[in-house]
């Protein structure tokens, strides 16, 4: 069970740079061969200042914070019981290699389902640029299978 009093908790913001080499590695790992995502000249020809971030890369940058598991530890979540239930991205503008982006995560909701067998934790993360302008919003639903009720899922 996760303590519902943690709803509203805001984590310490952190800033991560989108690195070119990492973006190329990510593109290779997901089978993305469009030169726009791996070749700077192609990216510029398409109107980008540098390599654009693929649609889900911000989730990886959020994992690159100084303490990637701080969120889970703060909530007392056992990693082996954790499932990723849902993920959403709302884009305010495209982001590119070389940008330093700031991630501010907040616990938006915590609720139980199936008689307490599953606990849902909803995390909302605002991504902003160095000027403080919004870049994207991430929504993550984590599902925790609670001990003793394994048969449910």
């Amino acid at each position: 069970m996760v303590d519902r009093s943690l709803i509203g908790l805001t984590m310490e913001p952190f800033t991560v740079e989108a690195e070119k080499g990492r973006l190329r590695f990510f593109a290779r790992a997901i089978g993305e061969t469009d030169p726009v995502f791996v070749d700077e000249e192609a990216a510029r020809a398409a109107g980008h200042p540098s390599l654009p971030l693929p649609p889900t890369f911000l989730f990886s940058m959020e994992l690159d914070g100084p303490e990637p598991f701080a969120f889970f530890h703060r909530l007392g979540i056992d990693f082996t019981r954790l499932l990723h239930g849902e993920q959403s991205f709302t884009y305010h503008r495209p982001a590119h290699a070389g940008e330093k982006l700031t991630f501010t995560a907040r616990v938006a909701d915590i609720f139980d389902k199936k008689g307490g067998a599953l606990t849902f934790v909803v995390r909302e993360t605002k991504v902003t640029d160095t000027a403080g302008a919004p870049v994207a919003d991430l929504g993550t639903v984590l599902v925790i299978r609670n001990p003793g009720l394994e048969s449910v899922r």
Binding site: R22, F25, D34, F37, P54, P55, F59, H84, G85, Q87
Partner: protein
């Protein structure tokens, strides 16, 4: 596919057929994505956690579904992308990403298409369902 500004409700994107999921891909994605959870890369750990084998990161499947979008729309045209992870994707699963237009609407002076998305395996099991909103060029 027809030009983007002609997209209409009911139009489907050409399906994206993916090669079978391999262990090597899961290892690469662990490194590239920063998700180092051992459940995806270490079979001993996975078994100790009660799983028959390692299995794919949900975000790997979502990233591949993202390729269906960026193959047809400029990445800068994406306004929203969301998914629900419906079933675990296992090693050797062969996935197909599909999307179709369910609405074309004007939002704040911009023409946008809403798409319904799904990823299924060869047996038809739905691994992931999603939605996306993309800006369309003005006609």
């Amino acid at each position: 596919m027809k030009p983007l500004h002609d997209l209409a409700v009911g139009d489907a994107l050409p399906a994206l057929e993916l090669p079978p999921v391999t262990r090597a891909q899961l290892a690469l994605f662990a490194g590239a994505s920063g998700d180092h959870n051992s459940i995806h890369i270490d079979i001993d750990y996975a078994r100790a956690a009660g799983q028959p084998d390692v299995f794919a990161h949900g975000m790997l499947v979502m990233a591949e579904l993202g390729r269906l979008l960026t193959a047809h729309f400029p990445v800068g045209a994406l306004r929203g992308f969301s998914t629900r992870f419906a079933a675990i994707t296992r090693v050797h699963d062969q996935l197909t990403c599909r999307g179709s237009v369910v609405a074309v609407e004007e939002v704040g002076g911009e023409r946008r298409a809403r798409l319904e998305l799904a990823v299924t395996d060869r047996a038809g099991e739905i691994k992931l369902v999603g939605a996306a909103t993309v800006a369309l060029p003005s006609s």
